[in-house]
């Protein structure tokens, strides 16, 4: 297990190593010249501003929706709680596509921030809602008995305990903001990722693109550092069986109810209504003739094949790392695990650029092969598989493997028959996440996949760049339809883990 985990982690470090290596190759002066120029400043301001605005807004929205659906007596809160997670079923660039379709003039910072918030706030909402469900209501009773008003109880007892899910969600959103290409390209808002893509598509000056990638890497590392510093010594709470106690619901009153409902109605209209209305409109405009099944079916099957292979390989690669992180002694497991999170935080474009150059220069036979694009998926999406796999392995007691060995199973078979069997639901959830991510992955697929590969996302992208929105619509619809069941799984999983 250890060699496998080391190998996986070493492979995932290739892209970062590559960025550093290029920086050295480029030399100090050229690097400075490429870095210290007004355009980089512009991009830096844009990118940082985006994070500084979109992340807090998403947090406020996510916590508000979580509280309303879990702790208030809002009418229809069960339905709202599902609708709150539903925007995740719409890939971010389809959100962008829908908004540009609805309001063609929409562009720039506020548009980018708005749509990003709508696409990503569930990343805060889901874990926050789960944590709210898990909190022991007795603590709030005690706080009340000590003379705190309900607002004070929320601020001093509830909110501090939501710190970890909020931080986790905020980090996830910030990393997505750094990596997202399609959404911001459609909304004409330049970030480092879109700019790298531009350079890549211009008379590509490799050092320039790589220096920008380097800045992006630094931003990612900065975010990870801020997050871990803010988190302090607190660990992400191990998700236990939770309290069976029914929580008391906060009475909103007519005014509160009105405010809460308005918020949710507006949010749902923006985050779900707009995408669905636009997609519906394009679909109706295109009519049945627009569903060119001879084109769509092969693309659909290729996407399924890539996503399935990507999901399985990523889960397999995550296995030794997760196992070591849970069972291993000492720091090594944690260090290896950390490596994978760092690389997973990198945008697809950085990883794609690295793998293109490495395969062309070092392992030519692997260039533009299925292997390389799958490798990119593994590197990009390993953390998604790792998180749930790790949690589920942690729930399988190690004694079970010992017992199986004492009953004549080889260590590998014991691991496989017992721990892996018990971790299977978690592995499946992780694999589903990776599957979904591959389905909507754009940049790495465009750059790395074998010639002739067309996925739903790349075809959709190619058609939108020919501004054939009508013909692009079926691909967006299929991506959304594929995402719906997986989003449902995520939603159910987040509730089950929370102990209900």
């Amino acid at each position: 297990m250890l060699p496998a985990a080391v190998l996986v982690s070493a492979v995932t470090l290739i892209p970062i190593g590559f960025v550093i290596w290029i920086a050295f190759q480029t030399g100090w002066e050229t690097s400075i010249a490429l870095l210290i120029r007004p355009r980089i400043g512009e991009l830096l301001i844009n990118t940082v501003l985006l994070i500084v605005v979109a992340v807090p807004v998403s947090v406020v929205l996510g916590v508000a929706v979580g509280w309303l659906t879990e702790r208030s007596d809002l009418p229809g809160r069960r339905v709202w709680s599902v609708l709150g997670a539903a925007p995740l079923a719409v890939p971010a660039f389809v959100h962008g596509f829908a908004w540009v379709g609805a309001i063609p003039s929409l562009h720039g910072f506020f548009a980018g921030a708005l749509v990003a918030v709508l696409a990503y706030f569930p990343f805060v909402y889901l874990p926050t809602a789960a944590a709210l469900r898990r909190l022991d209501p007795a603590q709030e009773d005690v706080a009340g008995s000590l003379g705190l008003t309900p607002t004070q109880v929320f601020g001093r007892v509830v909110l501090p305990q939501l710190r970890l899910p909020i931080l986790g969600g905020a980090l996830l959103i910030a990393l997505h903001l750094l990596a997202e290409y399609g959404l911001f390209a459609l909304l004409r808002f330049d970030t480092f990722t879109t700019a790298i893509f531009d350079v890549f598509q211009s008379s590509f000056i490799a050092p320039a693109a790589n220096m920008m990638a380097g800045v992006l890497v630094l931003l990612c590392l900065g975010l990870l550092t801020i997050e871990s510093a803010t988190r302090g010594n607190a660990r992400y709470a191990r998700l236990g069986s939770g309290t069976a106690r029914e929580t008391r619901l906060f009475r909103l009153g007519p005014l509160g109810e009105l405010a809460g409902l308005s918020l949710l109605v507006v949010l749902t209209a923006l985050a779900l209504g707009v995408p669905f209305a636009t997609l519906l409109r394009w679909t109706v405009l295109g009519g049945i003739a627009n569903w060119r099944f001879n084109e769509i079916v092969p693309v659909f099957l290729q996407t399924l094949g890539l996503a399935a292979a990507g999901a399985i390989l990523t889960t397999l690669a995550a296995l030794p790392v997760a196992w070591l992180a849970v069972r291993g002694r000492g720091k090594l497991g944690r260090v290896l695990e950390g490596c994978n999170y760092i690389t997973g935080a990198m945008p697809g474009i950085v990883i794609a650029l690295a793998l293109v150059t490495v395969t062309i220069r070092v392992v030519q036979p692997l260039y533009q092969t299925l292997f390389t694009v799958l490798l990119a998926y593994v590197v990009l999406f390993l953390p998604r598989a790792l998180i749930s796999l790790r949690a589920s392995i942690a729930q399988a007691p190690p004694e079970l493997e010992d017992v199986a060995q004492s009953l004549g199973r080889t260590p590998t078979r014991a691991l496989w028959e017992i721990t892996m069997r018990l971790a299977a639901p978690g592995a499946a959830a992780g694999a589903a996440l990776v599957f979904l991510a591959v389905t909507t992955e754009l940049t790495a697929t465009l750059i790395l996949a074998p010639t002739g590969t067309r996925t739903l996302a790349t075809t959709f992208w190619s058609l939108t760049s020919e501004i054939d929105f009508v013909r692009a619509a079926p691909y967006a619809v299929i991506m959304v339809l594929l995402s719906v069941p997986l989003t449902w799984v995520l939603y159910v999983q987040s509730r089950r883990v929370a102990g209900r």
Partner: protein, 346 residues
């Protein structure tokens, strides 16, 4: 020889020597208990025997077959046929009771009937076979785990605090049933526990582990009455330990002059008495006088703390007195000592 032979076995994790040169042998068919505080290395020793870990040094031999030695022999766990019964049973939660019991059996026609036999053997109702582990009580789970371990007719069975998760009453009953079963099956057994009562009643031999070493091994009664040092003495039960001057089989201490079990030893030493050796004397003829300073009612008896008059308020001993009209605090009592005191080595 047949049985388990452990010779100079060591195992370190980094700088920590978890097991530091243990020698121990268990004759075939016999039961041995290893007791020790947590961190004493007893679980590591068990894992070395089971084959989950490889020793850094030393030899482990089972029925004449070398399982592990310094020359690099390392029979993997799954080839040792050593049964393992961990804490709270560790039943596979994704398998039914029948599948749990049959886990180590070859797939074949007689598997179902063998599972039935095993269930019967551990007095498990056959109706339970279709159930899931979480539907069983703690005691039932433990019996399933035992049946599962016995299924492959192990040459040795290792029990790692298997009864600790059970309630007090159930624990004793399960222990008894387990001993009977192991005896019937004629299996060599090694029990790891931190519960001295469990260890004393389980086995023909006890090994007390401390700091990765076997501090003392022997028959339960020997260890109980004649521990080598005060740590072992107090670990195996309540003990009254007093400084004394020893000479010619007699010790002079705060309890007066007592017969000791060591005629050779001379000079100052520490002696040990078990509390049940010291009783409240009905008659005034008993020699030792003292004053009750504390009375604690613990259900089946009272524990009196008695300040010995001879020590001028320096030495107290705890004495058990039957429930009934116990002496009041501050009342004078006289004490009587039964049997010889034991001279400790430290």
């Amino acid at each position: 020889m047949s049985g388990l032979e452990i010779q100079a076995v060591s195992k370190s994790y980094g700088a920590v020597r978890a097991v530091a040169g243990v020698d121990l042998s268990i004759p075939a068919g016999q039961h041995t208990a290893i007791v020790g505080a947590s961190g004493s290395g007893k679980t590591t020793l068990l894992r070395l025997i089971a084959g989950f870990e490889a020793p850094d040094a030393g030899r482990i031999v089972l029925n004449g077959v070398v399982l592990a030695d310094a020359a690099g022999t390392m029979v993997p766990a799954h080839k040792r046929r050593v049964g393992y019964l961990p804490q709270d049973g560790a039943l596979f939660p994704h398998l039914s009771v029948a599948a749990n019991i049959g886990f180590g059996l070859e797939k074949g026609a007689d598997r179902a009937s063998r599972v039935g036999e095993l269930a019967e053997m551990v007095a498990l109702d056959r109706a339970m076979l279709a159930r899931w582990p979480h539907e069983l009580s703690g005691g039932q789970q433990q019996r399933v785990a035992l049946a599962r371990a016995l299924a492959q007719r192990p040459k040795l069975i290792l029990l790692d605090e298997p009864f600790s998760a059970l309630d007090t009453g159930l624990r004793a009953a399960t222990r008894k049933a387990t001993i009977a079963l192991l005896d019937a099956a004629g299996v060599t057994a090694l029990l790891v526990t931190h519960d001295q009562a469990e260890a004393l009643s389980f086995s023909e031999q006890i090994a007390v582990m401390r700091d990765g070493r076997v501090a003392q091994a022997g028959a339960p009664i020997d260890l109980y009455l004649r521990p080598r040092d005060s740590a072992t003495a107090t670990f195996l039960g309540d003990a009254i330990i007093l400084p004394a001057m020893v000479n010619g089989g007699w010790a002079t201490c705060a309890l007066g002059s007592l017969a000791v079990d060591d005629a050779q030893r001379t000079g100052s030493a520490r002696i040990m008495l078990r509390p049940e050796q010291v009783q409240i004397a009905e008659s005034d003829s008993a020699r030792v006088a003292g004053k009750v300073v504390d009375v604690e009612f613990v259900g089946h008896s009272c524990v009196l703390t008695v300040d010995l008059a001879s020590s001028n308020g320096g030495q107290t001993v705890q004495v058990r007195s039957p429930v009934g009209p116990a002496p009041m605090v501050a009342s004078p009592v006289r004490l009587r000592v039964a049997g010889p005191a034991h001279v400790l080595q430290d």
